[in-house]
């Protein structure tokens, strides 16, 4: 089966009905999306499927054939970070950072619907993503900054 990830096409093996996360990590060596819970409850594995964040750990790989998949590795363009990633770095948000990829994807997903976000909207929109180091206030701050700058969102 063919899979389009970060604007590249890959031939992948789906005979055992693997989920998208397994295919990305084990067959394409894109390990930015992480395993955290296996039930779509923590957000660490999120990728964009046709622009919408989806938990790759419960998404069968066969279900995204022909769709446009973007992982954290594909968020930036031509060596430039995506504005959300840049905001995360500027605000120096993370501790262990295992949640970082999923947070970036979720935030990009939020901005695809709406460019200006209030604190409450960010909390609501990001609530599916867990940061166990609990850097939530800094993540909120970074997303707000990105929202205010409105550059390249």
């Amino acid at each position: 089966m063919k899979l389009t990830v970060n604007e590249k096409e890959y031939e992948v093996e789906v005979s055992g009905n693997p989920n998208l996360l397994e295919v990305l990590r084990e067959q394409i060596d894109l390990t930015g999306a992480k395993y955290g819970c296996g039930e779509g409850a923590c957000g660490a594995c999120k990728v964009l499927v046709n622009g919408t964040p989806a938990p790759a750990c419960i998404t069968p790989a066969v279900s995204v054939q022909g769709k446009n998949i973007i992982t954290v590795e594909g968020l930036g363009k031509e060596g430039q970070l995506h504005a959300v990633q840049q905001a995360f770095i500027d605000e120096d948000v993370f501790q262990c950072a295992y949640c970082a990829s999923g947070m970036a994807i979720a935030a990009v997903g939020l901005f695809s619907k709406q460019k200006e976000l209030t604190e409450q909207e960010i909390k609501e929109g990001m609530n599916d993503n867990i940061c166990r180091c609990c850097t939530y206030p800094d993540i909120i701050k970074a997303i707000k900054k990105a929202s205010e700058n409105k550059i390249n969102l």
Binding site: T31, E39, A41, C42, C96, A97, K123, E124
Partner: protein, 710 residues
């Protein structure tokens, strides 16, 4: 050096690196140092010089010259490599330790590379826990870097044929005092093989003069984490690697009676490993490995196991050393004008590190390499040594920066399992635990029962008798002045596997202490802040408490019908904490709303204000989980809520309005900060709920059903 750098940061080993990594190199020692590192200048610190015997493990019978606390090496390109056995699990010590070195050497952080957690390259370290990195390792590296600076100055003076003059160092250069010339650090290290033992007397930069230390330097390698480039162990792979899964009992205490793996015959690429009760499978992908594991038929012998409903009576009944308190305390208690006895109960909670345990293992002949996320790489090396009966020199454990621990990754289960499978199938094997395995087969923060009785006489604490069953002894001592006091920790039989958790038992003990103090203040109709300050003897703690109270606006607080105010304070692991909270309890729904939290923290001279604030905030929010809703449910040895949809951890929507007050004491040595700030939030909320409703909640979590009881 390039390959070392890559590996230390946990990136994939490319082919050329792999060739080298197949044969674990000899440990770095003084004798082979420059052969391994190349020319340059180096300082080293012998552990016994700095820390005496306290961090030295009985498992490490190394020769004296190898008993090193750290190395620092400067190469001819002007880059500095620092070797420390500490590891990075999100505390951002890679950053703070780099700052300390950069400060003494007057170089940019970008020229410093920290090699951490590699048992063949870094000096022995007992482990990264107990908030010890900042108070113990930072001063060592600071001193060692200062020594290296003196060596550079010596080299420059020799080159310029100068006598005793003061030379300026700036951004990697030594400046000539008069002729405008300058020498780069790299030039001064060129062709040299000069190594010097650290001289204790060399002065370090005074905190008041810090330019890099004490500032908010950003997370080192931050970009790697936000682009998905950093490789955690769970992301790593090796050529020819297969994925491993381990057969687990259905619940704690079950014994394997009979196993049938016949169903797996003919599954392509699947191998079964069976060594007594250790049964695992490997496959070319993790999906196939999971399917194969599920197809194994196993019968288990079951014996009755404890359940959550009997937990607290079980802990008290099995508590050791239940001695009767002395007569003086008892008579003081009985003759006082106000007495209060209470019991507090604390449930098991799980660490839930977002990266579950992962291990990758590769054998080359009888030499073993293991990559695993652990707070104790040298401890895992010892576990592997015992498992395989190998000399330590043949075992190399790597610990790339890992997806958090919070005290929950002191062990090396996944690494050992991977190594056992790899040995059997003769291929590199990766084992990553599922979330369910992490919940069921890692360890928990201990549950506990605390019984305290205390009295006051004319508004002054007169007697204090405090007993903790099973939680532990950390933070058990009351910081308040009491005439007659006793505190005891009683070991109990723990129904579940338990171990370290951020701040250890301080969370439980401070919860009980601060609740008891609050209620005694209330009984005496004295303001809880005033009552505390009347009894606190530690000036740092009282001062911080007063500063934080001011920031919160405690004195001017406006108590209305449904809101309430609470506070707590305490000192653990060199950190001083004061936490204030305002809550609202809906009179009809009994739902709790945290209106605001103000947290004060003081840990001596601050190394990195932004990262410190992040630790304080992280502690408060993580602490909210254990305070309000986290609890491990278990029945007959089985964990009933072993998933993130059934075990609730704090999320974005749980984040209240917060203010953090950091007190920078440049006159005091820096302490660690990753643990202490967690202790204040539970009692501050408990006391605020009491203020709002008159209800005393003496259990952690306080609101397992989400509502405040009547």
């Amino acid at each position: 050096m390039k390959s070392l750098k890559g590996k230390s940061k946990g990136r994939f080993l490319n082919n050329s690196e792999k060739a080298e990594s197949c044969v674990p190199p000899q440990n770095i020692s003084r004798r082979n140092f420059f052969k391994k590192m190349g020319a340059g200048l180096a300082t080293y610190v012998v552990m016994t010089d700095v820390l005496a015997s306290q961090v030295f493990s009985p498992y490490s019978p190394l020769k004296d010259e190898d008993q090193l606390a750290s190395w620092i090496h400067l190469n001819p390109s002007g880059n500095v490599t620092v070797f420390t056995g500490k590891v990075e699990v999100g505390q951002n010590i890679r950053t703070s330790l780099s700052q300390v070195v950069a400060e003494e050497l007057s170089i940019s952080i970008d020229h410093i590379d920290l090699i951490m957690g590699d048992t063949h390259l870094t000096p022995y370290d007992r482990g990264t826990y107990g908030s010890l990195t900042t108070p113990q390792m930072a001063p060592i590296l600071r001193k060692a870097a200062a020594n290296l600076r003196e060596m550079l100055l010596h080299q420059a003076k020799e080159k310029w044929k100068l006598g005793e003059v003061n030379l300026q160092l700036e951004k990697g250069f030594v400046h000539h005092p008069s002729n405008g010339g300058k020498l780069s650090y790299g030039d001064l290290a060129k062709g040299k093989k000069w190594m010097k033992k650290m001289d204790e007397e060399v002065p370090t930069v005074a905190p008041e003069a810090w330019k890099v230390a004490g500032t908010s330097v950003r997370k080192v390698n931050g970009r790697d984490f936000i682009t998905g480039t950093h490789r955690y162990v769970s992301d790593m792979s090796l050529p020819g690697m297969v994925y491993g899964k381990i057969l687990r009992p259905p619940y704690k205490g079950a014994k394997l009676k009979r196993v049938n793996t016949g169903n797996l015959a003919g599954m392509a690429g699947v191998k079964i490993v069976q060594e007594d009760d250790f049964i695992g499978v490997t496959a070319r992908d993790s999906r196939t490995a999971s399917v194969a594991l599920a197809m194994i038929e196993a019968d288990w012998e079951t014996t009755p196991q404890p359940s959550g409903k009997d937990l607290f009576s079980h802990l008290v009944n099995t508590g050791e050393d239940q001695t009767v308190v002395g007569n003086a305390l008892e008579s003081e208690y009985l003759s006082s004008d106000k007495q209060l006895g209470q019991e507090f109960q604390v449930q098991y909670i799980a660490h839930v590190p977002l990266e579950p345990r992962a291990g990758l293992a590769q054998w080359t002949g009888d030499e073993l390499q293991v990559w695993t996320g652990t707070q104790r790489p040298f401890g895992v090396q010892e576990e592997l040594q015992r498992t395989f009966d190998l000399p330590k020199e043949k075992i190399r454990v790597y610990m790339p920066d890992t997806g958090s621990g919070y005290g929950g990754k002191h062990t090396g289960e996944a690494g050992i399992e991977a190594a056992r499978l790899a040995k059997a199938v003769k291929k590199p094997v990766k084992v990553t635990w599922t979330r369910e395995e992490e919940f069921k087969w890692a360890y928990f923060r201990p549950a506990g029962v605390i019984r305290v009785k205390a009295s006051t006489r004319n508004g002054q604490l007169s007697a204090w008798d405090f007993h903790n069953f099973n939680s532990g002894g950390a933070g058990i001592e009351t910081p308040y002045e009491v005439k007659e006091k006793n505190h005891q920790y009683h070991r109990s039989d723990s129904p579940l596997r338990q171990g370290s958790y951020r701040a250890l038992a301080s969370t439980a003990n401070v919860f009980a202490i601060e609740a008891q103090i609050n209620d005694l203040a209330s009984t005496n109709q004295i303001d809880p802040l005033k009552f505390r300050l009347n009894h606190l003897k530690n000036e740092r703690l009282s001062k911080l408490t007063e500063i934080t109270a001011d920031a919160f606006g405690w004195v001017k607080r406006n108590k209305t019908t449904n809101n309430g105010f609470g506070m707590a304070c305490g000192a653990v692991k060199g950190g001083f904490v004061a936490t204030f909270a305002e809550v609202k309890v809906d009179p009809d729904t009994r739902e709790l709303e945290i209106l605001r939290v103000t947290a004060g923290f003081e840990c001596g001279a601050i190394l990195n204000p932004r990262h410190l604030k992040s630790q304080v905030v992280g502690c408060i929010l993580q602490g909210l989980g254990g305070a309000l809703f986290e609890a491990v449910e278990f029945e007959n040895g089985d964990i009933k809520n072993a998933s993130l949809s059934s075990y609730r951890v704090p999320r974005f929507k749980d984040t209240p309005k917060m203010e953090v007050v950091l007190v920078d004491r440049k006159d005091l040595p820096s302490s660690g900060a990753g643990e202490a700030p967690i202790i204040g939030i539970a009692p501050a909320l408990r006391n605020a709920i009491f203020d709002a409703t008159g209800v005393k909640i003496n259990q952690l979590p306080m609101l397992p059903n989400g509502i405040v009881p009547k």
